[in-house]
């Protein structure tokens, strides 16, 4: 063997494991840097992923409710403020994912005064919060706070998913109140359209009381799993799709933000979960106008304010069948329903939302906000 050979020509026995490791490491790094431009710029950790970038202030907080007011970038806004009501199991930053991909930012730039009711995880001693508490106390107090803070007697409610359900119940129970307009996205009102979850909770062996006794609040992992069961392989498909687009930085970042949000669910207070399971999923009281909250019957026929319902045709979480009766139950003379091609999340965030839904909603709200 030639003793003066270059390292690559050296006798394999003379090369140490550490040298091999170093060379392989260098080779891989160089390949990545050359072939995947900008990979180094990708967020290394979840906290590097900036979400919710629009400046906001906390206006009010009570139990699990947090009311935020977003800073307006314009000099002139519509008279009637918008209050967005998030689902109690989902974080509000899905509507403010990143600059240029934000529902909130869009509406601020279009001259609306935007508030958001976002939810915190309940503590162990908050497991007694019920659906009635969420509607009448937490949402009710936040609506009053918006009225006081904005100095206007009217407010437009925009509810997403279960947030839509809370908005509907509040508006139905407080006709003649400050709600001037009501818009609901993918709002479940008929559990007959949610076959899998309804069958689970109607099975003899399902015991929601046991679950609550043992766990107190329903953990977000359980909520996440029950959502994933509605489309068990979707996450795998999304991961493969990410692999197909790994060279596209924007795609990867957007995908990471969505993934973070999808895994960032909020636990549900035990009693609220029991109300949801028994009154809504099992007995389907809402669509039959038989739900009683705080001693009052929730009758959607009592809703007379301008009303907009938006459903997504490929929504597997709240299928169209679970919400399509809503438009007929509401008594408003000024009512509209839009069915957009898309899924539960892409309806409100992402390209589908940005170019289709947001301008429609802006048009609808603006015409009724003077």
């Amino acid at each position: 063997m030639n003793a003066t050979a270059t390292p690559f020509m050296a006798d394999p026995e003379e090369i140490t494991q550490a040298e091999v490791d170093a060379r392989v490491d260098q080779l891989i790094r160089r390949t990545i840097e050359r072939n995947i431009p900008g990979l180094a710029d990708l967020p290394q950790t979840e906290s590097d992923l900036e979400v919710g970038p629009t400046p906001k202030e906390l206006v009010y907080a009570q139990d699990t409710a947090q009311l935020f007011h977003y800073q307006s970038p314009v000099d002139e806004v519509y008279r009637v403020p918008i209050l967005i009501i998030m689902s109690p199991v989902a974080k509000g930053y899905i509507l403010d994912l990143a600059k240029g991909q934000s529902f909130v930012e869009y509406f601020l730039n279009r001259g609306h005064d935007v508030y958001m009711l976002d939810w915190r995880a309940p503590r162990a001693n908050q497991s007694q919060l019920s659906l009635a508490n969420y509607v009448q106390d937490l949402l009710g107090n936040c609506v009053n706070q918006v009225v006081e803070d904005a100095g206007e007697p009217d407010v437009t409610l925009v509810g997403y998913c279960m947030g839509g359900l809370l908005s509907l119940c509040y508006t139905a129970l407080n006709s003649g109140g400050p709600v001037k307009n009501l818009a609901c996205f993918t709002t479940p009102i008929n559990s007959d359209g949610m076959t899998l979850h309804q069958r689970w909770v109607r099975s003899k062996s399902f015991d929601i009381d046991l679950l609550i006794d043992e766990l107190g609040n329903i953990p977000s992992e359980l909520i996440n799993a029950s959502m994933q069961a509605l489309r068990p392989l979707q996450r795998n498909a999304n991961q493969l799709s990410l692999l197909n687009n790994v060279q596209n930085d924007d795609f990867v970042k957007a995908s990471m933000r969505f993934e973070r949000w999808a895994n960032d669910q909020i636990p549900l207070p035990g009693v609220m979960a029991r109300d949801w399971t028994n009154d809504f999923l099992r007995d389907n009281l809402l669509v039959r106008n038989k739900l009683i909250l705080g001693g009052k019957r929730v009758d959607f026929g009592g809703i007379t304010v301008p009303f907009l319902h938006v459903a997504a045709s490929f929504d597997h979480i709240i299928p169209e069948a679970a919400s399509r009766d809503l438009i007929n139950l509401v008594s408003s003379e000024d009512k509209d329903e839009i069915v957009v091609r898309g899924g539960h999340v892409s309806l409100v965030a992402g390209g589908n939302a940005m170019y289709r839904l947001w301008p429609k909603l802006d048009e609808w709200v603006s015409a009724r906000s003077e």
Partner: protein, 146 residues
Amino acid sequence: MSDKDKIDPVQLMRDWFIQSEKMWSDAMTEFMADERVANSSGRFMQEALHTQRMFSESMGQYLSNLNIPSRNDFLDLKDRMSQIDETLNAVLIELRDLRKQAGTESTASPRKKPARTRKADQDSSSPASGQKKTASEQTEPQSSQT
């Protein structure tokens, strides 16, 4: 031969899975919605809850003896942090209210308060159509099903 002309069998497999995912998912969901499966899921959940309680009680004792925090200890800590967070929120709200009373603008929003005089554009939709819009709104490609 350009990169585009090359056939990547792994990518083909991935594309096939992405395209057919909904079909497989629907089949699995239909299986889970079967009454017998729903019944056994409920039973499994009950057993899992009992097992978890027994396990966490016995493990809690061991961990305590070893001076190692258990999951419950972390949950207690989370609760305490949530309480602190809530107290800080109350302070922030109080400060905001004081600033408002004093007539000074917030540090987060040093701009002048916008006037509530904006009017809808001339081309805005007219209220009260009462029509259900479906086909005309279906413009997004089918791939956006998230």
